[in-house]
């Protein structure tokens, strides 16, 4: 278990500006990510296999999508669907809500930043995006994978418990499962997950309980 240091994460980058797509693509590739770029929010949703339907979630064609996306990084200001609209659509969809979303914007507007973070964006980068910003992406992808693996493990575990004693079913809290994971995976050469995460965010702090393998 755990994420191998050489596993290639796939990032979907969304920007209507060709210059900025070139730039973010290069930044992500130089950081060893696999990159797909699209020029609009609707193309991003299409790529993610999202379908507009009364019964949207069931129609989600996740099985048809061969590529897994580990993170979406999107410009805020785009004609038609904004980055915020894209974020909202993804968070409303049960198949996409666990994919971390990062918003980029050239405008430093506090209300905009707050709105995006409240809607579930992991980070808000001021443009032009730099390598130091891109370095903050990996922890979010590793966290998503760990949560996903734990969810699957817990499901299997709970299934067994259910068979023996249904009264005892209890999902471990996120923190418990993270600690559990940490104890399974001891490695001194790891870097604290806390590095680079904004301090003003109302989110659980893991203080080294969750760690990542450095390159």
């Amino acid at each position: 278990m755990g994420v191998a240091a050489d596993s290639q994460f796939h990032v979907l980058a969304v920007d209507d500006s060709l210059i900025d797509r070139k730039l973010i693509e290069r930044l992500l590739k130089i950081s060893s990510f696999q990159v797909t770029t699209v020029d609009s929010g609707s193309k991003a949703l299409e790529f993610l296999g999202w379908r507009h339907d009364e019964d949207g979630e069931r129609k989600h064609s996740s099985n048809q999508t061969s590529v897994e996306v580990n993170l979406v990084i999107t410009d805020y200001c785009m004609p038609g669907m904004t980055g915020y609209d894209l974020l909202k659509k993804m968070k409303e969809c049960s198949y996409l809500k666990n994919i971390p979303v990062v918003i980029m914007s050239s405008e430093n507007v506090q209300s905009r930043i707050t709105r995006c973070l409240e809607e579930g964006a992991e980070e808000f980068f001021l443009k032009p995006v730099r390598l130091t910003d891109v370095n903050k992406l990996k922890p979010h992808m590793i966290m998503m994978m760990k949560n996903k693996n734990h969810f699957q493990e817990n499901q299997e575990h709970d299934f067994k418990v259910e068979q023996s004693d249904s009264d005892l079913i209890r999902l471990p809290t996120e923190e418990q499962s993270l600690q559990q994971h940490n104890s399974n995976n001891n490695n001194n050469k790891r870097k604290s997950m806390d590095d680079g995460l904004p301090l003003d965010r109302a989110r659980p702090r893991y203080n080294g309980a969750l760690t990542v393998l450095s390159n």
């Binding site: 500006s17 070139k22 730039l23 032009p128």
Partner: protein, 154 residues
């Protein structure tokens, strides 16, 4: 010219562009993103910036020549130019765009026309400088040298 001489003039010229505020640290970032796997990255992005800027400046000229100025169009175009100039590190173009946008909010047509002239002037200046810089880069490569890194500016 010898390679080391070319490299020296490249560094001197780049330093002067930073000192005079034509370029900022973002241009150093672009240089850092260029490597053997992507030897033309800076030239590609700079060319895109020229194409983008020319198109936007033409659109703005047309819009501001109308009797009734459509400020919505200006308000859509100026941030685009501001965005691409800041992505390339063309600091003086970006700053001229900021002033432009303020007058657009005031719906001041005369001031907007003056701002457009200002932005055009800054764009043509930085274009000339960037073209000269790229020519120097190409000379260095043709002479078998490596482009000096601009770490101190990024």
């Amino acid at each position: 010219m010898e390679v080391d001489q070319l490299q020296r003039s490249f560094l001197e010229y780049t330093t002067s562009l930073f000192r005079e505020g034509f370029l900022d640290g973002q241009f150093g970032q672009l240089q850092m993103l260029q490597d053997e796997s992507n030897p033309d990255f800076v030239v590609e992005v700079v060319s895109l910036f020229f194409e983008d800027s020319q198109r936007i400046l033409n659109d703005l000229s047309i819009t501001l020549n109308q009797q009734n100025v459509d400020y919505k169009k200006i308000d859509a175009n100026v941030p685009q130019l501001k965005g691409s100039s800041s992505s390339i590190g063309a600091q003086r173009v970006r700053n001229a765009c900021i002033a432009f946008r303020n007058f657009c909010e005031e719906q001041n047509a005369d001031a907007c026309r003056r701002c457009l002239q200002q932005v055009k002037q800054e764009y043509l200046l930085v274009k000339e400088k960037l073209e000269a810089l790229i020519r120097l880069e190409q000379q260095i490569v043709a002479a078998g040298g490596a482009i000096p890194m601009l770490n101190e500016f990024s």
